[in-house]
C-alpha cells in the first residue's frame, strides 16, 4: 500500500507528482454509492472488486495506480465510512472536485489522499482526461487539453500528514510526542 509506484516525492523539493487518467462523477455523490454497505460488510477484497461500480461500472476493473477521482460539488456526502481510504487502496492518487463534503475531505487527508477543491475550474476536467498533479504546489496540468489549473496548496501541517501517509502514520512518526504510546 505504501509504495507509490509512479509517484516521485522528495522531502527537500516537496515534489509529489501524480499522473493518471480521470474518473469523473457528478454532484452530491454519496459515500454509500462509492463503497456500498453490502460490499463493505463482505470484506476488503470484495470491496476492491466493486468499488465505485454503482457510479462508473467499469471503474473497479479498469482503474490503475495513480488514477484520479474527480467530481462535482459536495463529493462524499452522507455516511462517514472512509470511502477515500478505499479509493486510495484501489490506486487513486489524488481527488479533484468542485467541493468535498467535510467528512470525506477530512477522511481523505487523514488517510494520506490529497483532495483539491477547485470550484468552477472543474469544468476543465473531463472523464478520461490525463492529468499531471503537483501535490505540493497544487498545480494541475491537463495533459489532454493543455490547460493548467492552480488549486490552493495545503497548509504545512496538512502536507506533513499527507506526506506521512495519513494521521496514524504521522502519529507513529512523532511517537515521542504521544505520552500514552509505549515508547521504544
Amino acid at each position: 500500500m505504501e509504495k507509490r509506484t509512479k509517484t516521485t516525492k522528495t522531502t527537500k523539493t516537496k515534489e509529489w507528482i501524480v499522473e493518471g487518467r480521470v474518473w469523473k462523477v457528478g454532484d452530491n455523490v454519496n459515500t454509500e454509492s462509492i463503497t456500498p454497505s453490502h460490499w463493505l460488510h463482505s470484506g476488503h477484497e470484495p470491496m476492491m472488486e466493486h468499488i465505485g461500480e454503482m457510479l462508473i461500472p467499469e471503474f473497479p476493473k479498469k482503474a490503475k495506480k495513480n488514477d484520479i477521482w474527480a467530481a462535482g460539488t459536495n463529493l462524499g456526502c452522507s455516511s462517514s465510512r472512509n470511502a477515500p481510504l478505499f479509493l486510495k487502496d484501489k490506486g487513486i492518487g489524488v481527488v479533484i472536485c468542485a467541493s468535498a463534503a467535510r467528512i470525506f475531505y477530512r477522511n481523505a487527508l487523514n488517510s494520506g489522499l490529497p483532495v483539491f477543491e477547485i470550484g468552477e475550474e472543474m469544468k476543465k476536467i473531463r472523464m478520461g482526461d490525463k492529468l499531471r498533479v503537483h501535490v505540493g504546489a497544487g498545480k494541475i496540468e491537463n495533459l489532454t487539453t493543455g490547460e493548467t489549473i492552480q488549486a490552493k496548496p495545503f497548509p504545512d501541517f496538512i502536507m506533513e500528514i499527507l506526506e506521512a501517509g495519513g494521521i496514524n502514520k504521522f502519529i507513529v512518526k512523532h511517537k515521542a510526542e504521544y505520552k500514552l504510546l509505549k515508547q521504544g
Binding site: 459536495n74 452522507s78 462517514s80 467535510r102 477522511n107 487523514n110 495519513g166 504521544y178 500514552l180 504510546l181
Partner: protein, 418 residues
Amino acid sequence: MPFTAVEKILMKHSVTPVSKAVPGDILTCHIDYAGMHEGFDARKYEQFTSLGEMTGVFDPKKIGMFMGHHFCTGHSDELAEDQKKTRDWAEKLGIRVFNFGSGIAHIIIMEEGLAYPGSLCVFGDSHTPAYGAVGTISTQCGIEMGQVFLTGTLWFKVPDTHKYIITGETKKGVYPRDVIQHIVGTVGMDASVYKCIEWDGSYIHSLPVPLRFPFTLMSTELGAKCAYIEPDQITVEWLKGRVKHEYEIVKSDPGASFEKTYTFNVSKLEPLICAPSSPENTKPISEALGVHIDQVCLGTCTGGSIYDFREAAKILKGKKVKARTLIIPGTNEVLRACGHEGLLEIFVDAGCDLFPPYCGTCQTLSIGHLAPGEVQMHPGPRNWPGRTAEGSFTYLGSPATCAATAVEGKITDPRNYL
C-alpha cells in the same frame, strides 16, 4: 466583537487561549466526549493497534465504544472475533463498552448527559451533529480518533454559521420529521456544506428535546459540520438528572454574524414523504399514495423516541398491520417507556415484530435486510442506494405516516387514522 455559539465553544476549548475566532481559523481544541461505533471490518480497531501499544487514553470516562450501533454478530465468526478484540482492548484501557441492544449511540450520549450545553464532542459517525439539540457542538471524527484518544485534542476549522429560523404550528398529521424533510427538499443537500447550523424560531423551541433531534441530526443531510440549538427551559428540564455536574450554557452573542439565514413557516405543511433514492427527494404524500410497501420500520435516530412511538401507537391501536412491521426503540430508555405506557402491547397485538434498541433499517446491517425488488418505509434520515440491497427501494416518512402505511401495506395518509 460578537461571536456565534460555535465560535465561542471552539474558543472556550482551544488548547492555546484565544480571545478571537473567525470562520476559517484553525484551532486545536480539548474534547469533552469522544466515541465510536464498530467498523465494517477490523479497520476501526486496527487504526489504534497500528499506532503501537497504547498505555492509556486521555480520560477513559470521556470515551465510549458503541459495539451495537450497527452490528449484531449474526453467525459471523469474523465479526464476533473483531468485536471481542475491540471489547478486550477497550476494557483494558478502561473505556466503557455499549453492547448490541443498548441502542443508538447518539441518543444514548444525550440521554446519559455525556453531551451537555457548551461541550465539544466528536464521534465516528456522520450524524454526530445531533448533540446540538442540547447546545453541544459535535461533529464526526473518524480515522483521527487515535489522536483524540491519545491526547484529548483535535484541530478544527472554525465554520461559518447558517441560521434556520422555523416558526408556526404544524397542522394535524404533520410532525418534525415532515418539517425537516420539507427543509432538506427545499434548500437541498449542499445548502450548508461545512457550516454550523443554528436552529431557532418558535417552532423549534416549542418541541420537546427528543423531537429536536431530527433537526440537529439531519443537519448532516444539509451538508453541515455541526448543529446547535440554544438551550432553553425545556432543555434544562430535560437534562435534569442526566448531566450530573455544572455546565455553562453558551449562546450566540447579540449581533453575531450569520453567513446566511433561512426562514420557514410550518403552518401550511402537509404530510410529506421522501421518495427513492436520495434524502432530498421530497414529495407531498398525495403523490405517493398507494405505493406498495413490503416492510415498515418504526424506530431509527429520527423516529425512535418515545414521542414517535406514542404517535405510531395511536394509529396502530386495535389495528392489524399488512406490511411486516419492525418495532425498534432508539434506546433502552425508550424501550422502558414504551413498556411502561403500554405501547409494546399495542404493537404486538397489531402484529408488529419487536426488536432490541438499535439503529433500525435505514442501513440494513443487522436487522430487516431487503430482497431485491422489495420496498420499505421508515422515519430515518437516509434512503441512498447502497444502504440496503441493490434493487430495493426506501421511502422515508414521519412515524405516523409509517404506522398508517404499515396498517394498509401501502403508502397511506396518516390523517385517515387520526
